[in-house]
């Protein structure tokens, strides 16, 4: 068996229908929630509603009738909004937020992959009126400040990654960046009149998005295995390389948290076979300012600015998946980009300026607010600061790996130095006491620590993928080790009780098997 790809489609509904579905779904989830936690239920804001109650102090100062709307078009029925006091609203939403777990409250060893600390100054600066109120259709002459920031960000990212052909900020997410990267590789081969090259090579440890992006671009996926030491099996790679090879997609450091030591040999082999190299930037955090994908021989890269460059995300976005390229792919970069005129002013690069571009990926110019935060982050840290990010992230991961090994956890690759993340396997504990990686993840929640990634990568049985990130102090890391050591003792002493965690969260263990098997998302009143 091997990794698989799935696609999902959304039916098209009118906006109104979708809103109604959302409201109905809220009610359904609420009922489900009530049935699960009984008396500890949280009410919907609508259930707090009492006729006539309102917050006068919050009414807009001007409430003139809209004289310019014809009478026949005006609403005659009430809005149906909840009628609540200011204090009702404050308490309701404060209580809801307390059911949330966030990096603002506790340690989050999922790392930059999901949650890395977002410095407040980035928000403050990106939220200035001049940025917030700029309309995307504003003429270039009135957007010079914003465009200058974007131009500098393009330059900074190209420099950090060593991509000689430049960087486009257009992609709105990491997955869209991947799609753009593979689309550029395909466009390059087609432009040269090479219609045969359609195979994209992907290691078995790759992120699931890699084969998905390759398939979306019309490619065929060829998988290559990883050796026991964590490096790619080069002999197996040689066997799949050939005249059909369009390219290879690699994450370096890889998803198992080690640096691919033979990257230059791999780059040479792939280039000699006529293919190009794609760098999945998911783990860029580990090498910022230390080694550059461009120097390793990569032709295309996407960067998850919402991870590595520390912009807020989680729960679906917004992301920013800037793409960088080597010189040979420059003509294919997605638009729009920002160019600097000789006079020192800035303008948009459009289709007429770059006729071979793979085109637009969204209506405007990427997720502007996210890009601004990444710009502030990069400027604030500077060259030395970005290097320190990689150094501290790597130091923290290796410190934690060593300490966890000392208290009795097995490292999946003990002979390799960790990058910014590492893998612990509790296979031994599963055999001895029947406790699994999921049990450890759930038990951590009772200690106010978020679970690390578990069961990924699939290569390592019963694994926990732990990434502390650069911003956690030694005290926090030591506390995590202490908690993990306690859990190990509990698992040995009383596995049955251990498997009942979590006990302190608003919801305890959900039936994830039932939830996945009975994917009944339609509402039945």
């Amino acid at each position: 068996m091997g990794s698989s790809r799935k696609t999902c489609t959304l039916s098209t509904q009118s906006y109104l229908e979708r809103r109604i579905c959302v409201y109905k779904a809220c009610g359904m989830i609420h009922r489900l929630y009530n049935s699960l936690i009984g008396s500890r239920r949280a009410m919907l804001i609508y259930e707090h509603s009492k006729p006539g109650r309102c917050a006068m102090a919050q009414l807009p100062p001007v409430s003139n009738l809209p004289d310019d709307v014809p009478v026949s078009m005006r609403r005659t029925t009430p809005l149906g909004l909840p009628e609540v006091s200011e204090l009702d609203v404050v308490r309701h939403y404060t209580n809801l937020s307390r059911k949330n777990y966030s990096i603002d409250t506790n340690f989050y060893p999922l790392g930059s992959c999901t949650m890395k600390y977002n410095p407040r100054v980035c928000h403050t600066l990106a939220m200035q009126d001049g940025f917030l109120n700029r309309h995307p259709y504003a003429p270039e002459s009135m957007s010079q400040g914003f465009m200058r920031c974007m131009h500098e960000l393009q330059e900074i990212l190209a420099e950090v990654t060593g991509m000689q052909g430049g960087v486009s900020l257009a992609p709105m997410a990491g997955a869209q960046g991947e799609l753009a990267g593979v689309a550029m590789i395909m466009a390059y081969h087609r432009h040269r009149g090479d219609a045969e090259r359609c195979e994209i090579i992907v290691p078995d440890a790759a992120h699931g998005t890699n084969p998905a992006s390759a398939s979306m671009c019309g490619g065929t996926v060829r998988e290559v295995p990883t050796k026991a030491d964590g490096d790619i099996d080069i002999e197996a790679l040689k066997k799949v390389l050939g005249p059909k090879t369009a390219g290879i997609m690699l994450t370096n450091p890889s998803t198992i948290g080690v640096f691919e030591r033979h990257i230059q040999e791999i780059a040479q082999l792939v280039h000699e076979a006529g293919g190009l190299l794609y760098y999945d930037g998911a783990n860029l955090n580990a090498i910022l300012g230390k080694v550059r994908p461009g120097d390793m021989g990569f032709d295309a890269i996407h960067m998850n600015l919402h991870k590595t460059f520390s912009t807020p995300h989680g729960g679906g976005g917004p992301g920013a998946g800037a793409v960088g390229v080597s010189a040979r792919l420059q003509p294919f970069l997605p638009i729009p980009m920002v160019k600097k005129h000789a006079a020192g002013t800035f303008g948009w690069v459009r289709k007429k300026d770059r006729p071979l571009s793979i085109g637009r990926l969204s209506a405007f110019a990427g997720n502007a607010g996210v890009l601004l935060r990444a710009y502030v982050y990069a400027r604030m840290l500077g060259r030395d600061g970005l290097r320190r990010v990689a150094e501290y992230a790597t130091l923290n991961a290796n410190y934690l790996a060593k300490k966890l090994a000392e208290v009795g956890f097995d490292l999946a690759y003990p002979e390799r130095r960790a990058s910014h993340e590492f893998i612990v396997s509790v296979q031994k504990q599963k055999k001895a006491y029947g406790v699994t990686a999921l049990d450890f993840s759930k038990a951590l929640l009772d200690h106010d620590i978020h679970a690390p990634t578990n069961y990924f990568p699939l290569l390592v049985p019963e694994c926990l993928l732990i990434e502390p990130t650069e911003t956690e102090s030694k005290d926090t890391l030591d506390h995590f080790v202490e908690v993990m050591a306690t859990l190990l003792k509990q698992a040995e002493a009383d596995p049955e009780t251990f498997k009942q965690a979590p006990r302190t969260t608003p919801l305890r263990r959900l039936d994830d098997v039932k939830a996945a098997r009975q994917l009944d998302l339609a509402l039945h009143e």
Partner: protein, 131 residues
């Protein structure tokens, strides 16, 4: 773990094939594989009449942990699929070598079966993976 039945042949990637009396070859995943995957929540089956290629994906099994391709141990035409898996994918968890079969093939070349590994060699493979 369940005993490995003696009449099966295996791929290293944990699929099994069983030659039946009428020359039909039944295909599934091993008990070890279902154990690794955990509770299955969905099985994507091919259609009857599809041609499958030895070594290529012919079905997908999805658990709460992962979705995995099932590689065909042999080439041929799919003549039957286990429709019970549509409603009860957990049958594979319960009885991977029996009621949890995935599809049946009329092989183009039954000789291909000889290239697969026998139960003893498969058991040894599991031991070595399990160190």
């Amino acid at each position: 773990m369940n005993e490995i039945p003696g009449d099966l042949k295996f791929l290293k990637s944990h699929e099994w094939a069983r030659l039946e009396e009428d020359g039909i070859i039944r295909v599934g995943i091993s008990d070890h594989a279902q154990g690794l995957l955990g509770d299955l929540v969905y099985v994507e089956l091919p259609a009857v009449g599809d041609q499958i290629q030895a070594g290529s994906a012919c079905a997908v099994v999805e658990s709460v942990k992962a979705a995995s391709d099932v590689y065909a141990p042999i080439s041929g035409e799919v003549i039957e699929i286990n429709e019970a898996l549509n409603d009860r994918p957990e049958v594979i968890n319960e009885d991977a070598f029996g009621a949890g079969w995935i599809l049946a093939v009329r092989a183009g070349n039954p000789e291909e079966l000889k290239a697969l590994i026998d139960p003893d060699a498969y058991a040894e493979l599991l031991e070595s993976e399990d160190h």
